[in-house]
Each structure stands twice: as C-alpha cells, then as structure tokens.
Symmetry: C2
Subunit: 192 residues, 2 copies
C-alpha cells in the first residue's frame, strides 16, 4: 500500500535493535482516518474468503482490526496477554516468546468467542519473528476454526516470521514489507 | 442510550464483587458495528466542544475511542499501562490503584502526543471508582491540555467515580449508568 510506505518513510523512525517506531500513527497515537483506509484495503485483499470473525491480539492490533471489521461486518475477538494463566477450562491458550521484549507471556481467548465453523482473518500491526502469530494460529486451531487469511500492517521481511507462515501454507498479506532498514534507511519489498 | 441498556440487559452478566461482564460486545469480543453507533452517540454529545484529540487508556478504551474519533476526525492517543516506569523525560506519567484488580500500575504517555492547546475528550469503557480516570485527567493537566469532556460507555453509579469527577467540574457523560445490580438485576439511572 503506497500511502503506508509513504507514512513509514515520513513519520517512522528506525531505532536500535531493528525497531521501527511508528507510534505517531499506529501504536500510541492513532491516525484513525488512515487506519480506516488500511481497514478498507484489508477488506479488498480478503473479501472473498467468507470471513466470519477477525482475530487479533492486544494492544496494537485492536484498532486496525476494528476498522477492518467495519468493512467485513463481523465481530473482532482479541487475545488477552497475561503474565500467568489461571487454570480455566473456558479458555484456549498459548505461550509467546517475544523477540522485541525478550520475555515470555501467555495469551488466552474465551472459548465462547472462537468456534468450529468460524472462518478467521487474523490481523496484527507487526510481523517480525512470527512468534505471536504462530501462537494465534495455534489457538485458532484449538477451537476448530479455520484461518482463511492473515493481514499484517508492517512485515519485517528481514526477520523469518513471514516466510515461515507462508511456507506453512497460510494466505498471508502485508500492507508493507520492510526488506531492510540498515543505517536508518528503509527499503521496501516490491509486493504489488 | 437505550440500545446500550438493552444490550447490557440481554448480554451482560453480573458476577461476584460488583463485576458487570460485557465481554461479548465491549471488551473481549467487540461488536464493532455497535461500537460505531456508540462512537456516533459520543460525537453527538460532545461535538460542540472543539475537540482536537481523544485520550483513552489501553486496553478496552481503544476500540470505542477509535470509533468516536472517526466522527470527530481527530487522532486518538492511548495511555500505556506498565508495571514500573523507566525514568524518561519524554513522558507524562501517573499511578493508578485498581479497585477491580486490587493492584497498582503506572501509566505513561509520550510528551509528543499531548500538547498545550489540545482540547481533549477522554473516553473509557467503564467508570467505577474513578482512579484510572483521575490519573488520565492528571496526565492531561501535566501537558497543559484542556479536558473538554469525558465520555464513558458504562458508569457504575453506585461507586463514587462519577460523582467525584462531576463535582470537580468536569463535563462527564455516560452512555449508560448502572444504579444498582444487587441480586443480578441491573437497574439503570434514568439519564435522559
């Protein structure tokens, strides 16, 4: 999505440790009109997949998932992050090892809100190592729902998440793929 | 808002400890089309206040704040919760004592995203004791921004937050005020 690449170039900042900071429009301050446009683009990409529900993970996935859901006219369910799980029969759960934060956390979703028969679009703001995404896919599988698509705002193409998930056969599309950001210069993959 | 009261009656659950569970449409699964309607209602209530930015707090305030922001055509900034603050000159911060969770946490907002001259609408999903809201107001004050309105989805009228904040002179409006929920029966305040 050309407008997103432009936003990243103009407003993003490259920080130490392969961090791309876009908190001026995507994950601290939210440019909601632009999020709405990105939601519409995700709809264009996945509208023929018969999506019945959008799955995301707190915190930064929520706003973009909600915007996309306005176009799909389906509910959003967001996985909750927690330090440690209580034993609870009513949840699907998994564990994520975060590359950025160098720590583990658990995620959980109430069994009420994911069902066999659901056709899911999973949405998140970033894809890098892919650990959170693999965990979301696993949780979706526990419920018997089908993952029909995965929509990402910014994929870090120089980290292995996207490749792993595509090779596993998932229909993954990213609105922008950053191929490289050495020396603070952002190079995008031509993904049109 | 009559439709919200109906949703709470039909889909809400009263749990031990004065907990009103509405996670089927407001804070785990999101009924985004209904959130959009509530966003429009918040716009109707505060549209003459010259709002330049919407302030909320992660996690459950984000989706409703984003929907309202589509009508106001302004950015959203969400305060981040954190276990402990790093010393950082670039943030406004405060501490919240959570009644529901019986614990303390810190909140922070980058100084970049709140400015003197901003006219804020603060939005959150719930108001009960009012501790998180008082902290958001305090953080807003640190920045020199003006709090022009406070919009709440569900206010627990039998807890003191709403009264305290109105008495302090803030223009607080709630889409539904639960006056009582003893024995699992939900009684609303007539707030029309």
């Amino acid at each position: 999505m050309e407008k997103l690449k432009k936003m990243i170039n103009e407003r993003g900042e490259v920080k130490e440790g392969n961090v791309l900071k876009v908190d001026c429009f995507l994950n601290h301050q939210l440019d909601v009109e632009f999020l709405y446009e990105m939601g519409e683009e995700l709809y264009r990409l996945f509208k023929d997949e018969g999506i019945t529900k959008i799955l995301t993970i707190e915190v930064s996935g929520i706003a973009i998932a909600a915007m996309a859901a306005l176009f799909f006219k389906v509910p959003v369910v967001f996985a909750k992050k927690c330090e440690s799980l209580n034993l609870d029969d009513d949840i699907y759960s998994g564990q994520v090892i975060s590359y950025t934060k160098q720590k583990k956390y658990d995620i959980k979703i109430s069994k009420r809100y994911l069902n066999e028969g659901d056709k899911l679009l999973i949405i998140d703001d970033f894809l890098a190592e892919g650990n959170a995404m693999e965990c979301l896919i696993d949780v979706a599988k526990q419920s018997g729902a089908e993952v029909k698509g995965i929509g990402i705002v910014i994929e870090k193409g120089f980290q292995p998440g996207g490749k792993k998930i595509r090779e596993a056969g998932y229909n993954l599309k990213s609105l922008a793929v950053v191929e490289d950001m050495k020396d603070g210069k952002i190079i995008f993959r031509d993904n049109n």
